[in-house]
Symmetry: C2
Subunit: 447 residues, 2 copies
């Protein structure tokens, strides 16, 4: 679930801004009539999308766009492995998990084989929000406590309870009384030499504060690459001390892998592996079915036991249906079969090296960070570390006009967030780097 | 999302109960290993399901089961129209609603054409729980109040906030302070000659109580066929006075059509049409994509406006994706093209008449009610109106051994809930009625 900061920085369309393209004008009118005020569109001039393949999307005029934005189609847009898997299963059986269905067990076992032995139970849901919503309930059942710690600009979902732990999606960044926010482990602007220690200190203070307030610590929920906070993952072990503090206090660590999960960071299947931590629960979604709506929680069995014993059980009508299992199997098989994790690592290094080559005097590229194909590029006022959201916005729009789609994140909306399908190629990278050199160069100061 | 009462009355499997079928034993072991305590299975002896078509499902031994339970595959299991629609779309484009995609607008317009003119905005989500969760937030944004009225055994979802308005899914039926429960408009056991007036009286008292407590009335949420409360929909206009009381007090009426919607009641597309009311919001899910995970809210535009103005907007990564639109279009076209609403009406009348033919002295069939292919059969101690959950359970298990799947509902777990795919035929009805005559007869008392 993309963050609101992305939306803002992709320049939400406002009614009446497009008048010159009858097809686009008509599509906008249709959208407005049916979806009303709830409609949110990318760009001042939204794109009427017609088809997509690999890392490329094509609009109604067949203009190509290199997709560095969408992390859902992780194995590539319209991948035949998923299309064929769901087509085959849809003609045979689609039902719920209160019957035994072999392909559902196949998927559950395949997914769990990507986790250490103590994370051996799975609950299948439909959206990342559902997974985080349920994980909060499970943590409360396990600990008997309500206090939750999240980062200042976190995004963890769109349900009532996950919106409450998503200050990044609330205009005033407020959180209810049983939530505490901590700054993310940021090092570039702050110059912090040990962001992990600072982060752990903030988490320890939040635990003490929650205990003093009578809430106690239920869990720490962290997107393991801090996507909406601005993309942070270095150095290795970054959040280990913070997680230890929570677990030592009897709280749980929930690794939100909805965005970094499924091989994107190149360092393994899950972002938490960068941090030398052992989650108590892992939530996942977005790329899990390459666009088929599916999500899940992988947890320690004792947590599932405790939750199940306290209530009447959890049932999700669509969660774990055989089509989702078929799609999920195709995704895992393709990630491994096509070496996409390795490609994410190699292409990520290549992209970061290329982007660093565009830094230097007068450049708006202040910092280049991330892991694998989850890259953050901090756009700064040249010669300073000051966030430059206007330059980021100009860069995003300039890239869009050159056929490259990329978003921004972070509280200032100045961090380019680069997360293309994992089948991204060296030629895709060259196209992107060339466009970025051109646009960023025009936005920087002459040296 | 089926209710917990269904689960209980379908006799949850308990570990170790099945030992004689190696394939089933192995499937149960696999399920237990991966899903752990969260796994909920139908029947003492769960079914290992292999394929399904129309109103029939087939287990791993190819034993057929007539499906009178599952209301998700509304146009029939494995319907080729949906399989082909999602297969076609999966090979072309699957993305989110921040781009303009024609098929998504096609679907939104097609869906909205099933509603009166003032219900003209749609928000697309992935599960019924997500729809009800969001509808509660929208109602609070619109009214500035938090109080919610639901029925005593209601089920409206599995997220934290929808679990709070689902006393039927909580072992102690408790609700938080800002929720009030009212008895459903029951007439058979109570002998109430005007259940609508009684219901309206309870709702008026709940409004007054919420106002006195300082919560005020945000909304009344009603499953328009009171599925988990025991299936109530007669006489026509049943809930009109209650809805008027809420709307007169400035509250909203949310029609939860997750179970009755999409033609099942035979009286129109939506269950609320039986009640001569005008909802402010309608939530839907289950049958919307015939098993493809999708759901939605249809609402008055002023409610969408108000909600959107107060926050940062609502975005759902998978909600309204082009595959869902393709599936949803196929469902609506098939309901109309195959005359499934008319079939639901005719087959429902036929089934109810046949079931009433099994009533009489010594019969356990106390009451037969419902609309279209959403039928409730109250199982009672013969000669009384006393709920007989044991007989209902024995009937369900007896029917299962004869190849008929049906569930139970209501606070006593004694109401058979009959809701087959809408393509149900006269020969399916004959099969079911014959099996029911045999099993129910053996459970009744000799006259």
């Amino acid at each position: 679930m993309p963050e609101i900061s992305e939306v803002m920085e992709l320049n939400r369309y406002r009614e009446g801004e497009v008048t010159d393209d009858p097809g686009l004008v008509r599509a906008l009118a249709r959208r407005k009539a049916s979806f009303g005020a709830a409609s949110v569109l990318f760009y001042d001039r939204p794109i009427r999308m017609a088809r997509a393949e690999g890392a490329w999307m094509y609009d109604a005029e067949d203009r190509p766009y290199l997709d560095l934005y969408n992390n859902v189609p992780c194995i590539g847009h319209s991948h035949p492995a998923v299309a064929e898997a769901i087509a085959r299963q849809a003609g045979v059986l689609n039902t719920n998990t209160r019957y035994l269905v072999d392909i559902v067990h196949d998927y559950a076992e395949r997914l769990l084989s990507e986790f250490p032995g103590d994370l051996s139970n799975v609950v299948l849901t439909c959206t990342g929000s559902e997974s985080n919503d349920l994980a909060l309930r499970m943590a409360e059942a396990m600990t008997g406590r309500r206090g939750v710690i999240v980062t200042e600009f976190a995004y963890h979902g769109n349900s009532a309870s996950t919106t409450a732990i998503s200050p990044g999606s609330r205009p005033d960044r407020s959180v209810p009384d049983h939530i505490r926010t901590v700054p993310p482990p940021e090092a570039f602007r702050s110059g912090d030499a040990d962001p992990g220690a600072t982060f752990a200190g903030a988490v320890r203070a939040a635990i003490a504060d929650l205990e003093a307030a009578g809430h106690g610590i239920s869990c720490l929920v962290v997107d393991t690459i801090f996507s909406s906070d601005g993309v942070y993952c270095a150095p290795p072990g970054l959040i280990a001390a913070a997680v230890a503090a929570v677990q030592d206090a009897g709280g749980l660590f929930i690794a939100d892998e909805v965005q970094p999960g499924f091989g994107r960071t190149g360092t393994g299947m899950w972002g938490y592996k960068m941090h030398a931590v052992r989650p108590d629960m892992v939530t996942m979604g977005k790329p899990m079915g390459n666009g088929f709506p599916m999500s899940g929680i992988v947890a320690r069995p004792d947590i599932v036991d405790r939750f199940s014993a306290q209530g009447s059980g959890y049932f999700n009508t669509f969660g774990g249906n055989p089509l989702a299992a078929a799609a999920g199997l195709a995704v895992l098989e393709t990630i491994h079969g096509e070496g996409l994790m390795e490609n994410a690592r190699a292409m990520g290094e290549h992209l970061r090296a290329g982007l660093r080559g565009l830094q230097g005097e007068g450049s708006i590229i202040g910092d280049v960070r991330g892991a694998g194909l989850f890259i953050g590029v901090e756009i700064s006022v040249p010669g300073t570390r000051e966030p430059d959201a206007a330059a980021a916005s100009a860069l995003i729009n300039g890239l869009r006009s050159r056929g490259v789609m990329v978003g921004a994140t972070g509280p200032y909306g100045n961090v380019l967030k680069i997360r293309p399908p994992l089948c991204f190629t060296a030629s895709d990278a060259a196209f992107f780097l060339s466009a970025t050199e051109e646009v960023a160069g025009s936005l920087g100061k002459a040296a």
